[in-house]
Amino acid sequence: MPDRYSTLRQSLIDGVLTTPGDTTPDLRRRVEARAAQHAGIERQESTEVPVELAGYLDKTALHAYKVMDEDIQALKDKGYSEDAILELTLSVALGSGMSRLERGLAALKGATS
């Protein structure tokens, strides 16, 4: 849904999901879709992620305030770099944030139609 902030939104999405890094854009898209699914928005992308990531990603999407140092260290122990953890965490935040925006705009559209 184009609006005057569409370009800015797309720049943020492109940055988080496609900037070269320690994780693939495909994984980041699935992580984003998984976070959006938790917020009630279905994406076309798969939400399947490596099993060792699922716990951290879901906790971050649903209860970010509960994330502890031990959660981060557990990912590092499994071989994920700090940049990989950052990219995945940002992907979760993007999915959670964008889904809230989409639901809000949908509600606004429903209210004004």
Partner: protein
């Protein structure tokens, strides 16, 4: 900050900028600033541009009203920012 890279893995130019901000403000830089400045092409650059447009760009809401909306939502999310 749990990620050492985000804490102090910035380019020297960004480290200088962070040091200057902290020097002028006389307060420890908030973590979100470190995040924005770390690998800005990943997140910070687009986020900052969007934030500037949303909070300071043309709008029927005043700047203060928009800041209040953002503060309220942050409080609901148990976030300091």
């Amino acid at each position: 900050m749990r990620l050492r890279n985000v804490e102090n893995g910035h380019t020297w130019q960004k480290k200088l900028k962070l040091w200057f901000i902290q020097f002028v403000s006389r307060r420890k830089n908030p973590d979100v600033l470190r995040l924005v400045f770390y690998r800005p092409e990943l997140f910070g650059q687009a986020f900052s541009q969007g934030l500037q447009a949303l909070l300071r760009g043309p709008s029927e809401w005043s700047v203060a009203e928009r800041e209040l909306f953002a503060s309220f939502v942050s409080r609901q999310n148990q976030c300091d920012f």
